[in-house]
Symmetry: C2
Subunit: 221 residues, 2 copies
């Protein structure tokens, strides 16, 4: 059965998933990229995002890399919030913003983007199709399930979107790399959520090569 999974979603020691002052130049907010140091060194990341990366290209293997790669396995659809899709706010002024990832995004599945403003689907190279959902999180999940045809669904982010799905107890599992940095401000993943009362528990944690601690939470039956 399809599971809704948060994967490789990095947070700081003080619980922030992004730094303050997000804008076009700082999509993760000021200080935000420090959260993903563990990821930027992996072979999986380099193959996806570094120009000239290929099957024999650089990047480290090991725990961090295995977890980064695992986040893309058996995924049949993605869901993300609008702010993860881009910096444009309010009604879409035109069709020019096509995501942060260029013409061939790393998703290769349908991607359901939560928004209050309707927009026609965007078919990208490599099988990624951005579909804009205005009917809310449950509708997006139902559509993603249908599109995934039995595979899992990855909930990309950002923090506000994950919090909505957690509050509704719709997330089945989370892999959260906790990076040894303090952000102090930004988007907090847990603030005001009682994860224990919502039925979540920590089922595993392990340390990667690059200082992040990979924490795994699961919704209990």
């Amino acid at each position: 059965m399809s599971r809704l999974k948060v994967q490789s979603f990095s947070i700081s020691l003080d619980g922030f998933a992004a730094g303050p002052d997000q804008d076009l130049e700082h999509p993760l907010g000021v200080g935000g990229p420090d959260l993903a140091t563990w990821l930027f060194h992996t072979r999986t990341w380099k193959q996806m995002h570094v120009a000239g990366g290929d099957e024999t290209g650089g990047g480290e293997t090991g725990v961090d890399d295995e977890l980064a790669a695992k986040g893309f396995e058996n995924i049949g659809a993605w869901i993300m919030g609008r702010n993860m899709f881009g910096p444009v706010r309010g009604p879409w002024p035109d069709e020019s913003w096509r995501g942060w990832w260029g013409e061939e995004p790393p998703y290769h599945t349908p991607v359901f983007v939560l928004t209050h403003h309707a927009r026609a689907p965007l078919l990208m190279k490599g099988g990624t199709e951005f579909r804009f959902v205005t009917q809310g999180i449950e509708s997006a999940l139902a559509q993603a399930k249908e599109a995934a045809a039995g595979k899992d669904i990855r909930l990309g982010g950002g923090a506000a979107t994950i919090r909505q799905y957690l509050r509704a107890r719709l997330v089945d599992e989370l892999h959260l790399p906790v990076s040894p940095v303090l952000l102090g401000q930004g988007e907090h993943l847990f603030a005001g959520l009682d994860l224990r009362a919502l039925g979540y528990a920590c089922t595993k944690h392990l340390r990667g090569e690059r200082a992040a601690v990979h924490v795994f939470l699961e919704k209990q039956p």
Copy 2:
């Protein structure tokens, strides 16, 4: 020079230092003892708290134990909040409450207890003397420094007390074991504090035998 140190102060994955509903039977709140699983197995803990513990007694050695022991080295005075001293609130009804720890508490130094209600000092066995400070955190620190005579001062807790000292930038370093549990509610250590703006950074972290990750924060010069 005397440093003000937080040592072996355990928090949950979601940042809580104690569970909800603290009372006489639950001094750490409901679920709170799960935070200190790493500690309860150490030789250091067993020697201090388990009847019949002695130099050759049980308990595990290793990273967890070394850190537990280090928390008591070179300490010339302690500071703690009144709620860590006991469950009595408001004016002291009498002299009967003498701390959670019996007649020989594990401190063996002067212990400055922050309170709004004056009370005569309490001299216990083994060199522990509880002194009640009504003039606030800076006064308690000045008195502790004088008593410590060049040794360090350990800030015991609870969370509210540590938060006051952090906000005033008076804490020099913190050792925070992060336990792989979710508490959901309780006393949050970091909420509303911008540790980065206050000048703190993570300088080290390492994993203990019993699943806690030991995080070290220091005030930057």
